[in-house]
């Protein structure tokens, strides 16, 4: 239950940081996606059960704030949560590796969804430049910041779900 209670303030804080700080920290023309990283790191924690609620909330929050169509972040984040949870069950012994893998795939998924939606709505985005100048730098930033986010979310999950002590 605590997992759901803290989701909104935590994701709200992450969104504020994203808008005020991370969107301004550019590598070439790409930027990190803090909410994506929080979602991935949270979904990979062992005892987390309500990660999809986090994905839903994050998608709605970003969809409300961003100029992207509201369903793009919603679909993207839910897809990333699903991917992270599916991989967690398969590669549970190397969580950091999975974190990097899902970050890579998640960034690609989010950017692909954004790109396709914007192109369909008539924005003249060149594919090559978009990939080289936005997606690749964003991926690098996400991988780097993801390594810092993962331990924080792991500590949070331990605080919410204390490990059971064997008698």
């Amino acid at each position: 239950m605590w997992e759901i209670v803290i989701s909104l303030p935590l994701l709200g804080l992450a969104l504020m940081l994203q808008l005020a700080v991370f969107s301004r920290l550019n590598l070439l023309y790409g930027s990190a996606d803090l909410l994506l990283l929080v979602l991935i790191a949270w979904s990979l924690q062992e005892r987390v059960r309500w990660a999809w609620v986090w994905g839903l909330l994050a998608g709605l929050l970003v969809g409300y704030v961003s100029g992207l169509s509201w369903y793009v972040p919603l679909l993207g984040y839910l897809g990333v949560v699903g991917l992270a949870q599916a991989l967690r069950r398969r590669v549970w012994q190397a969580p950091l590796l999975v974190m990097l893998l899902v970050t890579l795939a998640g960034t690609l998924l989010m950017h692909a969804l954004s790109f396709v939606t914007l192109r369909l709505s008539g924005d003249p985005l060149p594919l090559g430049d978009s990939f080289n100048l936005i997606t690749l730098p964003s991926m690098f930033l996400n991988l780097f910041i993801g390594l810092l986010i993962y331990p924080l979310l792991r500590d949070l999950s331990v605080w919410i779900y204390p490990p059971e002590v064997e008698a």
């Binding site: 969107s23 930027s31 704030v65 961003s66 992207l68 914007l118 003249p124």
Partner: protein, 281 residues
């Protein structure tokens, strides 16, 4: 009659010498010698006094180390506090300068009504060049209102909530602004890009475009008021086999450091969509 003894004679002689010396001193015969003697005495006294004080210092310093350290820590804390205050004041001065420039701009362009707003964030998607400002419909902000700084055109309000609004920058890839080159009075279209570079398209081949030409909004299309400064021509590309010239524009606004903006609140954009070919029922 009292007899002079050798002892009395000795005493008499000593007194005589003493009186003589006093008389000679009073007569000024010893002045030079007295001056030298007193100078030497003062020097010796000063030397002794200094050494004594140094010795006292040396002996008492260990007892004052604790108090000195405490005082040092207090002074360091004070310095840190004052440095923080200086940074805060410098920031306030910088903000005041920007605000003063905005106020000047509003005064020198009295044909429009302005509302100041802070830029509080950027769009989470790196594909979009949007900023979020802290003024919304509660303050009269409506979609379509142009946004400027004292340096020039920033963009246009795209979406509004009660307390905030989202502004599409002119550098956004989907942004199109009708502009004119001031010197040659040539119409063109200003386009954004994913890199934030601004380019001019649809410049007629016969137009005389030079580097440094000022670019202003033309007001065509009803999306922006006319004569808002946009930038300067940085580079011109003219090929004989193309229908139009192209130019790269250096914007006058530094979009990476947007902090405060002015929303032109009395401008109502004209929706010309029904007049465009193909949109009539």
């Amino acid at each position: 009659m009292k007899k002079f003894t050798p002892r009395s004679l000795q005493t008499f002689i000593i007194i005589l010498i003493a009186v003589g010396l006093v008389l000679m001193a009073l007569g000024g015969y010893f002045n030079a010698a007295a001056t030298r003697l007193s100078g030497a005495f003062v020097d010796a006294q000063a030397w002794l006094s200094l050494r004594y004080l140094a010795l006292v210092d040396f002996l008492t310093v260990p007892r004052e180390v604790v108090s000195l350290r405490r005082e040092n820590a207090e002074l360091r804390a004070e310095v840190a506090r004052l440095q923080g205050r200086v940074i805060q004041l410098e920031q306030q001065v910088s903000e005041a300068q920007v605000l003063a420039a905005l106020v000047d701009f509003a005064r020198t362009n009295p044909e429009n009504e302005y509302l100041g707003a802070n830029v509080i964030g950027r769009d989470p998607s790196p594909f979009l060049h949007y900023v979020i400002i802290d003024a919304g419909s509660n303050l009269g902000i409506r979609p379509g209102m142009p946004v400027v700084t004292e340096q020039g055109l920033v963009g246009r309000v795209e979406a509004v909530t009660s307390e905030a609004a989202r502004v599409r920058l002119i550098t956004d890839p989907a942004s199109q602004v009708n502009v004119r080159l001031q010197r040659s009075n040539t119409e063109a279209i200003l386009l954004g890009s994913i890199t934030g570079e601004l380019s001019l398209e649809m410049i007629p081949q016969d137009a005389n475009v030079e580097i440094g030409d000022l670019v202003l909004t033309s007001g065509l299309g009803g999306g922006f008021p006319p004569n808002l400064l946009v930038g300067q021509v940085l580079n011109v590309r003219k090929l004989d086999y193309e229908l139009f010239q192209q130019a790269v524009i250096q914007p006058t606004v530094d979009f990476s450091r947007l902090q405060y903006v002015l929303v032109i609140t009395d401008f109502r954009p004209v929706n010309i969509t029904p007049l465009l070919p193909g949109s009539t029922p």
